[in-house]
Point group: C2
Chain length 153, copies 2
């Protein structure tokens, strides 16, 4: 459904928020190892997230990535659109041409509610919201996002 880059970005950001809520600022090495993604690629992706202003970073010892708590929660959609563009949310899901509300293709009215549901989900759900859901059940963290460190071993 999404590119690897998008997937890794979402997982990394949720991990960062999760650690922030424990007063930690994780670095690239830790993030990549915990969410099981290639380290250099993850570094590049997080660089982009910082440039977009979605997350912040500090260099040097005790550096790492963190969310500015003064900012609003970050909707998944912002991350997704910054990487993939909004074709998933605007175009016809079946790639037919000249398809919109006024000139619908035969699949349009069947697909529109699906697209709207996807849109609603990613527009309303946030990185911080997902992190809270993980926090609600710490064991869930272990099994779902491969976040195995700092808990058991």
């Amino acid at each position: 459904m999404f590119k690897k880059e998008t997937e890794y970005a979402l997982r990394a950001l949720v991990y960062i928020q999760l650690q922030n809520s424990k007063e930690r600022r994780p670095g690239i090495a830790e993030i990549a190892s915990e969410i099981e993604t290639p380290q250099s690629f993850t570094a590049k992706i997080l660089q982009r997230m910082v440039k977009q202003g979605f997350v912040e970073s500090l260099k040097g010892i005790n550096g790492g990535f963190f969310f500015n708590p003064a900012k609003e929660d970050l909707p998944l959609k912002k991350v997704i659109v910054s990487i993939e563009g909004d074709s998933l949310f605007s175009g016809c899901g079946f790639g037919l041409k000249h398809c919109d509300e006024n000139n619908p293709c035969p699949l349009h009215f069947s697909y529109a509610p699906i697209r709207d549901a996807i849109n609603k989900l990613v527009a309303e759900e946030t990185i911080q919201g997902l992190a809270r859901k993980y926090n609600a059940d710490d064991k869930m963290i272990l099994n779902r996002l491969n976040l195995t460190a700092h808990v058991e071993k």
Copy 2:
């Protein structure tokens, strides 16, 4: 949402069925030009569709592509899965790991109904069904699938 290959396959097959219903067997050149796809690539894709047994072909003069009317209608899902695999219908839409009904990730229960809706749509809708919808309004054909030949000009 889908690969170009899938998109072109669906468009080509609908066009073939549409012409079949007019007692015609379109060839590659016509198909590619009508649905506005690259000709060689479309040829390769249709070759694969024939190999899969989804559609049939005849060489030589008066050759072209056609559906065996004795066969059951072809669900979009069969075409999609043959090209993309079933990751869209089975995996977690957000690429999180170890996510299933028993071990849901925090997005699972929000995404599951969306995935099910996509699944239902492509499992129930068929190439022949879409062609019938196009036939129901010939002008729609012109505007939606770029099928401009054999009608006006």
